[in-house]
């Protein structure tokens, strides 16, 4: 059913004839406004049909494949929480042995990537497999009910890092995964955000052109786990970039080769305020103030370390990279 009144095309045919490749179809069971569902849609669209996917356990795996259904339109395999990179390595070796050209993608959540799947990933990178590993970073173990991961930001509330007398949310810092990945001296490692679809597309294409292991970490808001309305997923993701807490960068062979400069850095509070997981930081409590200052300092540190402050407006900076035009023309 749709508002196709006045046109004579059945909606099913319309869906089939969309002028873009659909890797991830409708009917999946993600929450309303799921950033990860969007990110996965964008990645598979850009990667094209000639791919195979190994997916770690996690929300993406669960909501796309409620047995006996699948939302995928590419060959897709799920094995375990901890081994997506190992499975992808095997797929790549097998395809190579068969002389096939399909590209291999590995998908994992931040839990499956930063934590439990990390050694498999490190091994895959070290062995130089020609695989693009994409981490959908929603900053906690969402599928099992919002437990903290090593990607959860400092001071965020999760069910295992509740704010209380002893702590204001998570005690530790968000792991600097991109530097660790880049330290494997791989040809391409990047971060991206669902708020910048063209940037994601560009990075996926770039990564797939490269022979050898590539890695992209995509910041993907989780309305349920972060505690914001589903309609705000893009807005929240954009603010994370604009305040400096989630730097968008590219590293090749360990060297910084690209950043998305910030047109006008926003205060971190703009980003934190709409999210329930940071609500305790807006209480009248000196500890809350200190944590807000700490997060601001972390953002400032990112801006400084990566040189994110743009000197002049740039068409591809944080304010320009999402510009739209009549007719849908985007830069990527």
């Amino acid at each position: 059913m749709s508002d196709l009144a006045g046109t004579l095309i059945p909606i099913v045919d319309l869906r089939r004839n969309q002028p873009r490749f659909r890797g991830l179809e409708a009917g999946h069971l993600a929450c309303l406004g799921c950033g990860q569902a969007l990110a996965a849609r964008l990645v598979t669209e850009a990667a094209g049909p000639d791919v195979v996917v190994a997916n770690a356990t996690g929300c993406l795996e669960v909501f796309t494949t409620a047995w006996p259904q699948s939302a995928w339109r590419v060959p897709w395999l799920h094995s375990l929480f901890e081994n997506a990179a190992a499975v992808a390595s095997g797929m790549e070796a097998a395809l190579k042995a068969q002389g096939k050209s399909a590209k291999v993608l590995a998908f994992g959540g931040d839990g499956g990537t930063f934590d439990i799947g990390f050694q498999a990933l490190s091994g895959m990178l070290e062995r130089g497999h020609n695989v693009l590993y994409v981490c959908f970073d929603n900053e906690a173990y969402m599928n099992t009910g919002v437990q903290r991961s090593s990607s959860t930001p400092h001071a965020a509330m999760t069910t295992t890092s509740p704010p209380g007398k002893a702590r204001m949310g998570k005690r530790h810092l968000k792991k600097d995964i991109i530097s660790i990945i880049a330290a494997h001296n791989i040809p391409y490692a990047a971060t991206a955000s669902v708020a910048y679809p063209s940037d994601i597309r560009k990075k996926v294409r770039r990564a797939l052109e490269i022979d050898g292991p590539a890695f992209i970490n995509i910041h993907s808001p989780c309305p349920l786990g972060w505690g914001h309305d589903g309609s705000l997923s893009i807005e929240v993701a954009r603010l994370a970039v604009e305040c400096g807490l989630f730097p968008v960068v590219e590293l090749e062979r360990g060297a910084l080769t690209g950043t998305m400069p910030l047109r006008a850095p926003r205060p971190v509070t703009d980003y934190l305020k709409p999210q329930q997981r940071f609500a305790h930081l807006f209480q009248n409590d000196p500890r809350a103030r200190e944590e807000l200052e700490h997060l601001q300092a972390l953002a400032d540190y990112n801006i400084e370390t990566y040189g994110l402050r743009g000197e002049r407006p740039d068409p591809l900076d944080s304010a320009g990279a999402d510009t739209v035009r009549r007719g849908g023309v985007r830069w990527a």
């Binding site: 409708a26 309303l32 259904q69 339109r73 997923s233 893009i234 068409p315 739209v324």
Partner: protein
């Protein structure tokens, strides 16, 4: 229906069996809202609509959209005070779209290309309507009546159509070829034009009422007002309008060394500029404020701000918040005026009065004093309708109370904005009302609120400077050469691409790109609502993300209960 496979693998896209649309509490819908440029346009144009067509390179369709409301774009594109631009949402972001320049370009292009107005000539046995006065109000009414299928007779006491545009607007602002082309092309759609026909002299109102189904009166304001200072009038008094009309018609104006013009409207400013061209020292004295940022329109001079600015560039001296308290006469001859600071202030009874401030008197030595303080309707032939008042009292649709079948508008009506676009709008509304009157149905207004800037998502736009048209250098502003140069095609295109498309789909693909549920589908042909996108409510979960991220405010979320039973 679930499909089970040997080995337990799932087939591609079998998730489509899960109709996640049932989760929805709110549904996104496309809703067109009026753009502020549209609600601000007195002529009723929808600039958003034609800017979109320009952006797609559909020039002729853009012109047709424009002239669906206003048949005189080459004229208004030059002389309108463009409230559309003051209303333009983009003005709050960087600079308003140069709408008047786009309008002018389209009007000129239609003349150049000879595009015919999209009007089918009325049938011979169609109802007949008479229109008195061939100024912008009468021309607009005649045109819209023609579009509605009526036979129109348009009469004017002057030899040619155009009204005040022809008799008083200086050619350096409105070149006469443009005026002639636009009016001739317009009359050619099948309007019967009777020149040299004065109501009250050649035909009476009763005769018109008897011979025609309805009459629209648009005589403008042709009668000067009485003017004196403390009961004294200089011997050689001419009103500003009369001097201007003479200059426009004959090309000469009595030479003086210095003059003071009283008034703050377009006549005052135009006359000041014309006198200035003769080398005179020219002062404009107005009790209003000079138009500048922060001055509310009610408190500012009525003249168009850009004209005031150009006059200042040319050396005209303005005295704002001033009035004339006394004429300095040598015999009957003016040698100067005594000015005093004045301000419009509320009186204790709530009315507005002009209060002079004692102790602020100054003397200005000038040879001539010219009142340009506005005109009233020349009542001849219309006395029985005017009943002694200076203007027609009409409603929004131009109905003259107690005179069924008689309509009035333009400058001649009470409360008129005194502008060309206002006159065009009056003519259009009166045509609709006459159509309703002749068909026996009431004409209703569709009042729409303009979509505010807050309803747009500005993250998706970039700052871009507005295209500026070239102006003649002050030294070159002599004779009839047009001062404002207009924009060229690439600039017009660039302006159209700057438009936010407030309240209407920008076809930007954002909803299609950002829906996590693949529930926005793109179509080649236009959907019923005029966009290129449809929602697939079988799967849309109603997250609201598309509505939030729609740059133009075209998607809104509605409570699903409103659609109960329709799913």
């Amino acid at each position: 229906m679930a499909i089970y496979t040997r080995g337990g693998f799932a087939l591609p896209e079998t998730s489509l069996a899960s109709k996640t649309g049932t989760w929805r509490l709110q549904r996104p819908i496309h809703r067109h809202s009026s753009a502020p440029c549209h609600t601000a346009c007195p002529a009723g144009e929808d600039p958003q609509a034609y800017l979109a067509q320009v952006a797609e390179g559909r020039w002729r369709e853009a012109w047709e959209t424009l002239v669906a409301a206003n048949p005189l774009p080459a004229i208004t594109g030059r002389v309108c005070d463009h409230p559309c631009e003051s209303g333009c949402n983009r003005g709050q972001y960087d600079e308003a779209i140069a709408i008047h320049n786009v309008e002018r370009f389209l009007g000129d292009q239609a003349i150049r290309e000879g595009w015919a107005y999209p009007v089918t000539p009325p049938s011979v046995n169609a109802h007949r309507v008479a229109v008195v006065g061939a100024g912008p109000a009468g021309l607009s009414a005649a045109y819209h009546l023609c579009r509605l299928g009526y036979q129109v007779t348009l009469l004017d006491m002057l030899p040619e159509a155009g009204g005040t545009l022809r008799t008083a607007l200086p050619p350096y602002r409105l070149p006469r070829e443009v005026l002639a082309q636009e009016t001739q092309r317009l009359l050619a759609i099948g309007i019967e034009f009777l020149a040299h026909h004065a109501l009250g002299r050649d035909v009476s109102l009763d005769e018109l009422c008897a011979d025609y189904g309805a009459v629209f009166l648009a005589p403008g304001r042709q009668q000067g007002r009485e003017w004196s200072v403390d009961g004294r009038v200089p011997a050689d008094l001419h009103t500003g309008l009369r001097l201007l009309q003479e200059w426009v018609a004959v090309g000469t104006i009595p030479k003086v060394k210095s003059a003071a013009i009283v008034g703050g409207g377009n006549s005052a400013v135009d006359l000041a500029r014309v006198l200035r061209k003769t080398g005179a020292e020219v002062h404009v004295i107005t009790h209003d404020a000079l138009p500048k940022l922060g001055v509310p329109p009610e408190g500012a001079m009525k003249a168009i701000p850009r004209e005031v600015k150009q006059a200042q560039e040319e050396g005209v001296m303005f005295h704002e918040h001033r009035g004339i308290q006394r004429l300095l006469l040598r015999g009957e001859r003016v040698v100067g005026v005594e000015m005093v600071h004045m301000k419009k202030l509320p009186r204790p009874d709530g009315s507005i009065g002009i209060v002079p401030f004692e102790g602020t008197e100054t003397v200005l030595h000038v040879e001539q004093i010219i009142p340009a303080i506005g005109q009233v309707v020349l009542a001849a032939g219309m006395e029985r309708i005017l009943e002694g008042s200076p203007f027609f009292a009409v409603d929004l649709w131009g109905h003259v109370a107690n005179h069924p079948g008689v309509f009035a508008g333009g400058d001649a009506r009470k409360g008129s904005r005194g502008t060309v676009s206002g006159a065009v709008g009056d003519g259009r509304r009166a045509a609709l009302a006459i159509d309703g009157y002749l068909k026996g149905v009431a004409t209703v207004e569709h009042h729409t609120e303009a979509i505010p800037l807050e309803s747009l998502n500005l993250n998706y736009f970039e700052h871009e400077p507005r295209a500026e048209e070239p102006l003649l250098a002050v030294e070159q502003r002599s004779g009839d050469a047009e001062v404002a140069g207009g924009l060229v095609e690439p600039q017009v295109m660039a302006e159209s691409l700057r438009c936010f498309s407030c309240g209407m789909c920008l076809a930007c693909d954002n909803c299609w790109t950002l829906c996590p549920d693949q529930s926005v589908l793109k179509i080649k042909e236009l959907a019923s609502d005029g966009s290129h996108y449809v929602f697939d409510y079988d799967y849309c979960k109603g997250c609201g993300l598309c509505a939030r991220e729609c740059p133009s405010g075209y998607i809104v979320m509605e409570d699903e209960l409103l659609f109960a039973g329709r799913y």
